[in-house]
Amino acid sequence: MGSEVVEKSGGKASFDVGAAAELVEGLRGAFAAGRTRSYHWRQSQLQGLLKMTEEHEQEIADSLRADLSKPEFESFIYEAAMLKNSCRLALKELKRWMVPEKAKTSVTTFPSSAEILSEPLGVVLIISAWNYPYYLSLDPVVGAIAAGNAVVLKPSEVAPATSSLLAKLVGEYLDATCVRVVEGAVPETSALLEQKWDKIFYTGNGRVGRIIMAAAAKHLTPVVLELGGKSPAVVDSDTDLKVSCRRIIVGKWGCNNGQACVSPDYIITTKDYAPKLVDAFKHELEKFYGKNPLGSKDLSRIVNSNHFSRLSKLLDDDKVSGKVVHGGQRDESELRIEPTILLDVPRDSLIMEEEIFGPLLPILTVTKIEESFDIINSGTKPLAAYLFTNDKKLKEKFVTCVMAGGMVVNDTTVHLAVPTVPFGGVGESGMGAYHGKFSFDAFSHKKAVVYRSFMGDAALRYPPYTSLKLRLMRALITGRLFTILGAIFGLSSD
């Protein structure tokens, strides 16, 4: 059995603290027995994840359609293919990642040798999000398994079809003594959070992030928090307008209709350039999604009515009335909102105060593009920041001055697909990073190991302490050879 089947009798979940404790105890036993440590176990589990994704692509796409009306194209590319890539990379690199790293030792510890071992942390909990419910659930699992941990995955209940698919597939393809899925909502999550974990990896929002970290503090459990924030896109007038627009569109509406943590949240451009930018957006949007985007199969819907009414509230805010320059149509019964652009919204409007996480794109205008940097830095640090420009100086300034988890110049979201750079936030956008080797490291303890022989001890290390020993130690540490000799021969007056 790979998943804790939540028996729903009268709407009451049976997965309580006791069940959670039992589950963790079982996994801890398997971990302590060393089951997850071998290269072969890790390899077989990664192969299992890969195979499971390959063999069920259509089912994955179907459940994503049920949960989010996600276009199949997006499902295949951003969820299935991305996960397969992670598995393949981990399978290819795992041996290298697992090799202990030699470390240099210094003269003070001579003679010795040292290395850094990557050791599994133990039993880890992964709590995932609903917007990329397949990829974001399993991508951290890849890292956790590669590093040799036992894992409990709690997929988001807001994407129920994918959650139950994950429970079913993980049970079929992975080692159920060490990798488990627990489905459920707040009560199940709370039961899990009461347990002692060796790492908690959470993807979601800052409010829950705080709860997770406070719960982790009780057991001194380290956390990775992948949160979000208002990721800005700055568009300079010296840019390739058409390409910039297209790249913003795929990063915004082409990523789950804006329900993605790295989607551009808002745009900053100059007053003069804004009309041109809006026109270009209109033109490209129509090319991509046709004249009736509410009916387009290439756009996800809003995940549920809660989020639909949250987004509606942002649009109905008095402060932004009359600011919509494109779109604005909604269909509550289908949970669909058209790609919508708002121009010159005030900075104290609701839409500029919270992460939008949907198909609304406000544009702020400034007189000089450099002002945008101060606007970004005056808020909390976003997960990503984007800049579109040909201006070399501006690029440099952006990269050094703007604080963000990651950034891309002249494109959006592509850094997420680069496994050689860490993906993660800073400040309000999160802590810790993953992807590629960084995932392996996030789930490993870096154990320092020193090997010494019994030879080569200097008496000066030990009491009784004398002033000669003090002089010698000073000389050794500062590396002054003459003082060393001087101290030994009693010549120094140091």
Binding site: R37, Q58, P71, E72, F73, F76, I77, A81, A103, T108, T109, A114, I116, E119, G122, R210, M213, A214, K218, L220, L225, T239, V243, R247, I249, V250, F288, G290, K297, V399, M403, G406, M407, V409, N410, D411, V414, H415, V418, T420, V426, G427, E428, G430, K447, A448, V450, Y451, R452, F454, M455, D457, Y462, P463, P464, Y465, T466, K469, M473, R474
Partner: protein
């Protein structure tokens, strides 16, 4: 502390103005730290003597010297640490470059401990400053002379707009923890570590917790007399001569085979005499217990007659002088405070086992310590220790020296802490690794944009699998088609 918010606000503004970012600023501060140590040695020696009764040689070895070494190391490597790391990209990422850029986190809070009040404060400051952060240091109020030394002298050597010392006890600590920080670095106990992390969660502040735990020393039955002597010297040095056992990486207890135990104790007696003389209290070579509270705590560990009866060496205590003699116990009951809590003082229990391999099972059933020490030449035992037990670090045939190795991460795991520092690891611990990708406007695969169709999907699949031939074939319309048909 009148206007803490205001003061921190000013520091944040100064930091946001980019004043701490330049390599030149960081270097100047590191040099300031170096001068602070070098120009005030006498005062530091006397402060450590006063707070903890440390001999200057011990003080130099553990606090000044090790910090000087680390500063020099940081000055030497700073440029390399600060430089951007180019990231490799697959060939399909045409006209794209990527790099990892280390960026200062912002305003950092360091809450330091009393056992190495100068050394540990400086060691963490080195990382904070190297990474270009602003910082508030709260030294421990339990080492008051050292705390006031830092508060008085640091402003003379460092940029006071970015580096501040705030003195105080738990009340001040609590007030500081209410503020928003970009990182909190804490050295101390597990109990306070939990409080720190809970407070940090409110502002989503990442934490580094340098805690402790019961660090064991596994002592194999050594045969050569040289090895035995070296091992015993190293053990005694690591237990009694580093702040009288009040050290997070000090040896807490020993695991040894029954048959080797009496020889080991005998050898320890002989060497203790060489180190501390007939009357250890008279020797200036052993530090004092930090205060009466800790003295009482240590004293009460021996209260139980069963434990008292297990003392085979030492046991003398002088409360007025806060002195506890190096004390060795053999096989105190395992379910006693001395074997359950971190001892943090000059009491050394020895637990005997039938076979030295039993030590692994013994350790596996306990919380993960900051360090495991093993004195053995048996390579298979070494391998088993490495792969079957977990701890912050492992040192074979020595103790404490891992603290001095700049190339090794120093930090705990599980109950012994979160995060790591020293050398480059300190720099990383106080930096955000910002991922940056640069793209040109020139190349965009036309299949990147909606409306979607099966043809674009096929191209993407080839693209992700770096299947260049597949891309060409698909473009030419002769590639193998996917079984999936898009609705």
């Amino acid at each position: 502390m009148e206007d803490l918010e205001g003061e921190l606000g000013a520091m944040r503004e100064y930091h946001d103005g980019g004043n701490t970012r330049d390599a030149s600023w960081r270097r100047a501060q590191l040099r300031g730290l170096l001068l602070l140590l070098l120009e005030n040695q006498a005062e530091i020696f006397s402060a450590l003597q006063q707070d903890l009764g440390k001999h200057p040689a011990e003080a130099y070895r553990d606090e000044i010297g090790s910090a000087v070494k680390s500063i020099n190391y940081a000055l030497h490597h700073l440029k390399g640490w600060m430089s951007n790391k180019k990231a490799k990209l697959p060939a399909v990422a045409l006209l794209t470059t990527a790099a990892i850029i280390p960026e200062p986190l912002g305003l950092v809070l360091i809450i330091s401990s009393w056992n190495f009040p100068i050394g540990l404060s400086i060691e963490s400051l080195i990382g904070v400053i190297s990474a270009g952060n602003s910082v508030v240091l709260k030294p421990s109020e339990l080492a008051p002379t050292c705390s006031s030394f830092l508060a008085r002298k640091m402003p003379l050597y460092l940029d006071t707009k970015a580096v501040r010392v705030i003195e105080g006890g738990p009340a001040i600590g609590e007030q500081l923890l209410l503020q928003r920080w970009d990182k909190i670095f804490f050295t101390g106990s597990t109990r306070v570590g939990r409080i720190v992390m809970t407070a940090a969660a409110k502002h989503l502040t990442p934490v580094t917790l340098e805690l402790g735990g019961k660090c064991p020393a596994i002592v194999d039955t050594l045969s050569s007399s040289w090895d035995k002597k070296a091992a015993v010297e190293r053990i005694l040095g690591a237990k009694f001569s580093a702040c009288a056992g009040q050290a997070c990486i000090g040896i807490d207890y020993i695991l040894v085979e029954q048959k080797f135990c009496s020889a080991l104790v005998e050898l320890m007696r002989v060497n203790l005499k060489t180190m501390f003389g007939e009357n250890p209290k008279q020797s200036r070579s052993i530090a004092r217990i930090v205060n009466r509270h800790h003295f009482q705590r240590l004293k009460s560990l021996l209260d139980d007659p069963k434990i008292r009866g297990s003392v085979v060496h030492g046991g003398f205590m002088d409360e007025d002088d806060l002195f506890i003699e190096p004390t060795i116990l053999v096989d105190p009951p395992l379910e006693s405070a001395i074997m359950e809590d971190e001892i943090f003082g000059p009491l050394l229990p020895i637990i005997t086992l039938n076979k030295i391999e039993d030590s692994i099972r013994f350790l596996k059933s306990r919380p993960k310590p900051l360090s495991i020490y093993a004195f053995t030449k048996d390579e298979s035992l070494q391998r088993r220790i490495l792969s079957e037990t977990s701890s912050g670090s492992v040192v074979f045939n020595d103790a404490l020296i891992q603290y001095l190795a700049d190339a090794l991460p120093f930090g705990g795991v599980g109950g012994s802490g979160i995060g790591k520092y020293h050398g480059k690891f300190s720099f990383d611990e106080f930096s955000h690794q910002k991922a940056v990708a640069w793209r040109s406007f020139l190349v965009d695969f036309w299949f990147r944009f909606p409306p979607w169709n099966g043809y674009k999907l096929q191209l993407f699949q080839n693209f992700y699998e770096y299947d260049y031939i597949g891309i060409v074939l698909t473009v030419l319309g002769i590639g193998k088609q996917r079984a999936i048909h898009l609705s």
